[in-house]
């Protein structure tokens, strides 16, 4: 009874919200943001681009957390290493001409390298700790992340490098807004990858095994699922997605040894926002964090230097108000 009442209250609130949004006409919308409409749309597009990158990274966090219940602190470093490998291959191939085929080849090589790295790290640093203290894998992951970022600084140098575009990145004007080819690529590729990941997880045998393992790892192994294999697969997919996100970041910004740390943290926040362990949640959370960041700078006049602070404040707020996130399940405490 109480449950139904609760649902009714939520429903009426949603109806009210829709009414308010419906009654808003163009002028009201402008007043809401205190900006002209085309600028609002422009910022939304920019926010979605950044958010799509966060989503791709957040998927890795959320998939690993779903199965192993651990935060893979080294995820940002998988991203960085994959990006560097792509960059090296792309830079050496680019001399023969700006061929988009070489670009795709470079990105795929980076993804494969990142996936191999992820599987290796899991085997070496996380697997021996699966049965030990709760803090152990977390500390080990922090250790791995420090090793990898310093290794990259040693091998590739601390100077930041640019990932050149395979196409000319002059913006295309559509209606009132301008979109760069890079933004189109990021949004299209992210949608494509997320669509196939969802299909993979929901429709294939391996995906089913993954879902079973994240439900209950011990029971899954009793049912004859190769749990170690599934965990390796999860790390491989997560790291490969992170590598492609890293390439997108490297084209827009720069490639440097600590690029994974901040991006990884924000993606983690996105994963928590959407409900950690939930794949759709990670996608939605990433885009919302991207939008919040863009609009935080524009509307509230937060200085660019404090942009990163917005996400952390959001994180602390979510953790206080709704620790399970938007779409997360409530975990029962076992005695």
């Amino acid at each position: 009874m109480l449950f139904i009442l609760n649902q009714l209250v939520v429903l009426t609130k949603i109806v009210e919200l829709i009414k308010i949004l419906y009654n808003l006409n163009k002028e009201d919308a402008m007043q809401l943001f205190n900006l002209p409409l085309n600028e609002v749309i422009q910022h939304i597009i920019n926010g979605i681009t950044v958010g799509a990158i966060y989503s791709l990274i957040a998927l890795g966090y959320t998939m690993v957390y779903g199965i192993l219940k651990m935060i893979n602190f080294a995820h940002g470093e998988f991203l960085m290493m994959g990006t560097y490998v792509s960059l090296l291959i792309w830079d050496s191939l680019r001399k023969g001409g700006n061929n988009p085929f070489f670009y795709i080849l470079a990105v795929i090589c980076g993804m494969i390298f990142s996936a191999i790295l992820g599987v290796t790290v899991e085997k070496v640093a996380y697997r021996p700790l699966r049965k030990s203290l709760r803090l152990a894998p977390l500390l080990s992951a922090i250790g791995v992340s420090i090793i990898l970022s310093n290794l990259a600084a040693l091998i590739f140098g601390t100077k930041s490098k640019k990932f050149e575009y395979p196409f000319s990145n002059s913006p295309v004007v559509i209606g009132m807004v301008s979109i760069t080819p890079h933004q189109i690529l990021v949004i299209a590729a992210s949608l494509f990858l997320m669509f196939f990941l969802t299909l993979f997880i929901n429709k294939t045998r391996w995906g089913k095994a993954m879902r079973a393992a994240s439900e209950d790892i011990d029971t899954a192994s009793l049912m004859g699922i190769n749990v170690d294999g599934i965990i390796s697969l999860t790390f491989a997919i997560g790291a490969a997605l992170a590598a492609i996100a890293g390439v997108f970041m490297g084209m827009e910004y720069k490639v440097y040894p600590t690029m994974g740390t901040m991006a990884g943290l924000k993606a983690f926040i996105a994963a928590v926002f959407g409900g950690i362990g939930n794949i759709v949640g990670a996608m939605v959370g990433g885009i919302i964090i991207g939008l919040l960041e863009t609009f935080g700078v524009v509307i509230f006049g937060i200085p660019q230097g404090l942009k990163d602070t917005i996400s952390f404040l959001v994180l602390i707020l979510i953790l206080i108000v709704k620790p399970t996130g938007l779409l997360g399940k409530k975990l029962k405490e076992k005695v």
Binding site: M70, A125, R134, L135, A136, L265, L306, D308, T309, L315
Partner: protein
Amino acid sequence: MTNFLLLLIIYIGIYSILSLSQNLITGFTGLLSICHAAFFAIGAYTTAIYLVHTNGSFWIALLLSALISTLSGFLIGLPSLRLRGDYLAIATLGFGEIVKNLIINLDSITRGPMGINNIPSPKIFGFVFNPAVKLNYVVFVWIFVFITFFTLKRIVHSRFGRALEAIREDEIAASTMGINIVLYKVVSFTVGAFFAGIAGSLWAVYNQSVAPQTFDFILSVMVLCMVVLGGMGNNLGSIIGAAIIVTTSELPRLLGFSNIFPPQINQMVFGLLLVLVMIYRPQGILTRKRVDFEKLLSKKIKMEGKS
């Protein structure tokens, strides 16, 4: 050479205070917090700003540092300590980044990335402590280390400390025993922040300058590494851990190899240490001393059998 050894001893002392306080939070209460650099920074900057602007007494600066650090520990602790272990780690990490970001961006107070220089040397009982005379500082810093060590020892062996250990072992069981988990966690966190603030204050007056680069994420990890290496839940272990980590990180400079070994190698060693210790000796160098009830019980049974 002697000068360098003395410098090493001073650094070990300051880091020992940090690792001891981290040990109370992580080793005894079982909370993985990675924002000790933030408390350290708050302590150091408070002392620096106070001494530069007022040229006042060192004791007031020390007290202010400790209090503001405690307050910030309370503010971050209150919301985030309702969270489970790994969420707490991320929330504290976020807090550490926020503090560093604020220090870099609040130019008018902290002078941004340049940091604050020319902090006056403390005058204590009419005696000026000059950083050039290192021996004075060795005594001065290590007095604080001993104060921290014995205070924490008393805390850990009190009723309060036992409650903390109960929370570490099993939160649900502890709460059914009537322990107010959130309260105890917050108090443990704020006590840790208090001592980290003191360490920051000492750091500021010894170095005579503070800069935001010092208080990086890697510093928090280093402190955590000290605790883990020495053995979580062992105070003496924390000091030993601090000694090992500080010595290894300063050794290349001591031997004149700093040109050959870039600083990255050092940090990689910390990372490697964390992973290896976790895999091969998760209890650290010195293990946690615990009362062995089975032994006590069997002794008692034997004694009763005799009588």
